[in-house]
């Protein structure tokens, strides 16, 4: 279970084959993978490895991918419009 980071992805993005491919490609610590039927899967054991690089935020439309810090003031990182 992740203690420090959670990643949320909007359902539309998670179903978009091109975006899923892009997310898998950009994340340096393999937090994204392809699940059943080509949909996006979050690799839970890798969540705490997130480097907060924000590459995933920039790979998808604004606001559709959110990186949530589960500590401190529970800051949410997301791409602004």
């Amino acid at each position: 279970m992740a203690l420090f980071i959670n990643v949320e992805v909007d359902a539309a993005v998670a179903r978009d084959g091109e975006l899923v491919k892009k997310l898998i490609e950009v994340c340096p610590v393999n937090i994204f993978a392809t699940g059943s039927g080509g949909a996006l899967q979050i690799v839970e054991p890798n969540l705490d490895e997130c480097t907060l690089c924000e590459l995933c935020l920039n790979a998808a439309p604004p606001g559709t991918v959110r990186v949530v810090k589960l500590y401190g003031d529970k800051e949410v990182l997301t791409r602004k419009a």
Partner: protein, 400 residues
């Protein structure tokens, strides 16, 4: 990485340094008997352990016949010396010695260059010779960039009054030893004693080789040729299970270092790093009266998984009450990532980070983020305004 005597001799033999006849390692008494039969004369049998004091402990025996050699090997193979079980028994022909010499190449930490040391008083501690009989010892630094010439070896050996054919023969051996040292990333190549026989020949009677740990990769070919597993780490004693498990943690992935541990019997687990910083921190803990449970290296941006596994390993060690997480100022290791790994390790071990982490002092990149995490879990931390010495003192105070 220390070599066994038989491995050192195999390396020297490859370069043509003269060895006693036979000079093979036996794993069983029968093998020892067979080697003695080949030699067909008196033999010496030596326990292959990575520790000194073999002679005193009964790990060196002599035999006249193959049957005697087999019996001697049986005794030696059953003997544990300073906690070391022998890898085998080296069987070689006994040689009639006229004189013993010392020849070694090592690193001179002051001049930051290799140094060759030669003495016509071999067989005993070279430090003792240097102290009591300085006129019997010669030293010479040499460059790592240019070849070590025969002339340099000759000059060194002649400087203590050796001449004639002895000088010529020793020159060859000394120049070759320097080549062995340079070619293979060694930190020590030593022949002690190097002996002159009554017929004027010279032999390497005992050899010591230490290889730089970081050279293991470039020297894989040589290590395989000598029958050494390049992954094997060797110290003056066999690694403990804790240390083997530490190496396994480090091998999990390529990111950073976490898990290079040496075991001690204290109660304060250390997650420390930053090159010389880890040595300083270890010493500081001792100076404050603390009892380290381990010496450790962490740095170079290990993954959270790696830092977590290391923390769990240290916490699982018997007698460990708390851990101290400390480094010098780091620019290449992310403080927040280490904080995550360590806290995760503590939590997954079933402890409260605020209680189990005596101090967290890693100032450097992403420290603000790291401090947020530490605050969230109630861990005592400090920044670079608190010296490493003071942080070590705070950790030790918490142990009381």
């Amino acid at each position: 990485m220390r070599f066994y005597e038989y491995e050192s001799k195999r390396l020297f033999g490859k370069y043509g340094i003269p060895l006693p006849t036979g000079s093979k390692v036996a794993r069983t008494p029968a093998e020892a008997g067979a080697i003695a039969t080949e030699i067909a004369g008196p033999v010496v049998l030596k326990s292959q352990v990575l520790t000194g004091g073999r002679m005193k402990a009964g790990g060196v025996l002599f035999a006249e016949t193959a049957a005697e050699a087999a019996r001697a090997a049986e005794k030696i193979l059953a003997l544990t010396i300073n906690g070391h079980k022998p890898r085998g028994v080296l069987v070689e022909a006994r040689a009639p010695i006229a004189q013993e010499y010392y020849l070694g190449v090592t690193w001179d930490g002051v001049n930051r260059l290799p140094v060759m040391i030669f003495s016509d008083m071999g067989g005993i501690d070279v430090e003792e010779v240097a102290e009591k009989h300085p006129e019997h010892i010669a030293k010479r630094n040499f460059s790592t960039l240019f070849p070590f010439s025969d002339f340099m070896a000759k000059e060194l050996i002649a400087s203590i009054g050796i001449s004639g054919s002895d000088l010529n023969r020793l020159t060859q051996i000394a120049a070759t030893l320097a080549r062995v040292f340079r070619d293979h990333g060694l930190t020590l190549a030593e022949i002690n004693p190097l002996v002159r026989l009554h017929d004027g020949r010279f032999l390497c009677l005992d050899g010591h080789v230490d290889m730089e740990d970081d050279a293991r990769d470039t020297q894989k070919g040589l290590l395989r040729e000598l029958g050494i597993d390049p992954a094997e780490k060797r110290q003056a004693r066999p690694p403990s299970q804790f240390e083997i498990d530490g190496a396994a943690v480090d091998a999990v992935d390529h990111r950073g270092v976490a898990g290079n541990v040496v075991e001690f019997d204290g109660d304060l687990g250390l997650v420390i790093g930053a090159g010389g910083g880890s040595l300083t921190l270890f010493d500081a803990i001792r100076k404050h009266g603390g009892r380290p449970a381990n010496y450790c290296e962490i740095g170079g941006n290990p993954s959270v998984t790696k830092a977590c596994a290391l923390t769990k390993l240290i916490l699982a060690k018997r007698g460990v009450k708390k851990i101290a997480v400390m480094m010098n100022v780091v620019s290449n290791t992310r403080v927040d990532i280490v904080a995550r790994g360590v806290i995760k390790g503590v939590v997954e071990s079933g402890f409260d980070p605020a209680e189990k982490i005596a101090i967290f002092r890693i100032p450097g990149s992403w420290e603000t983020e790291g401090f947020k995490i530490l605050r969230h879990y109630g861990v005592e931390y400090c920044d670079r305004s608190v010296s490493m010495y003071e942080a070590a003192g705070r950790a030790v105070a918490k142990m009381k």
